[in-house]
């Protein structure tokens, strides 16, 4: 079986990171607390995965204050969108391979 894994994204292999990207692809932006609630993960886990996505250039971070409380918004970048689409194609190909 020769698999084309060029589209498979190591960064998105992590479940939480893939979930974060799914949410950010479907929405223009999302804030930290809503993400945490939606994914049901701990602060630390979410923060470290957001950090690595940011370092990879897949998302951008926008810090601001709402009623003096910190409010951090995340957005996907074009690069992140592309990576997400590629990764999905890779998963799709994997499934197709196994059907053959």
């Amino acid at each position: 079986m020769n698999l084309d894994l060029s589209l498979y994204d190591k960064v998105l292999e992590n479940r939480v990171r893939l979930q974060i990207m799914s949410v950010l692809v479907a929405n223009e932006h999302y804030d930290f607390n809503s993400l945490k609630e939606l994914l049901g993960v701990t602060d630390g886990n979410l923060a470290s995965n957001l950090k690595s996505l940011e370092k990879e250039g897949y998302i951008t971070v926008e810090k601001s204050f709402v009623d003096r409380k910190p409010n951090t918004k995340y957005r996907k970048t074009d690069k992140g969108q592309k990576a997400f689409e590629n990764h999905l194609s890779a998963l799709e190909n994997l499934i197709k391979q196994q059907y053959k």
Partner: protein, 205 residues
């Protein structure tokens, strides 16, 4: 990674994309209740304006300055009880699925509804002040319908049809002055009940 894992993963992505961009906590049963309140309100208003034993059919100029304040009180009571029911049941439903009722999607939903709803509300008030009572039922239906169609991209897609039907009813009510209360009762009462039952059947079983 085996096939089951992969299919699972893709299913999860799909559900997250939907859950994060659509507000699915609006309860179908609350739609049924809200429709019933509207019917009760319309019935009370009907008895008040036309009397209990009056014939169904065309009525002209029965709404007057004397009974307008009572009608406004009835309408506002229906509105307040409906919003209360809708909010309470949405909160219960959200709690059950571990989400909060006030999240980015519900905020987007309210933002989408706010402009047409406020415009329609103010326009109705202007018609009341001017004594154009015949315009009120259609104004409420049309602008409520616009608000629902605008909101439908953030929640159940069925809401779009409810909105469009309300707009059509409102336009028809304009063509048939004097029958406003029937259109109003159908649009806000019967259609809400049907919509609520459909959503309950499709998503809450």
């Amino acid at each position: 990674m085996n096939q089951k894992d992969l299919i699972n993963q893709i299913g999860q992505i799909r559900s997250l994309m939907e859950k994060s961009s659509k507000f699915m906590s609006i309860s179908g049963l609350s739609g049924v209740l809200i429709g019933s309140y509207a019917l009760v309100g319309a019935f009370v208003a009907y008895v008040l304006v036309y009397g209990f034993n009056s014939e169904f059919g065309y009525h002209d100029h029965y709404v007057n300055n004397g009974n307008i304040p009572t009608l406004i009180v009835i309408a506002l009571s229906v509105l307040v009880v409906s919003i209360g029911t809708g909010y309470y049941m949405a909160r219960q439903k959200a709690k059950k699925s571990g989400q909060s009722v006030w999240n980015p999607t519900s905020k987007a939903l309210f933002k989408a509804m706010a402009v047409p709803l406020l415009t329609g509300g103010l326009l109705s008030l202007i018609f009341i002040c001017k004594g154009d009572y015949g315009m009120i039922a259609s104004t409420m239906l049309i602008f409520y319908g616009l608000a629902l169609s605008a909101a439908s991209s953030f929640t159940f897609k069925e809401l779009r049809w409810l909105g469009i039907l309300d707009i059509i009813l409102g336009l028809l009510a304009l063509c048939l002055p004097g029958y406003g209360i029937y259109f109003w009762a159908f649009g806000f009462g019967i259609l809400h009940i049907i919509y609520g039952l459909i959503v309950h059947q499709r998503y809450e079983k």
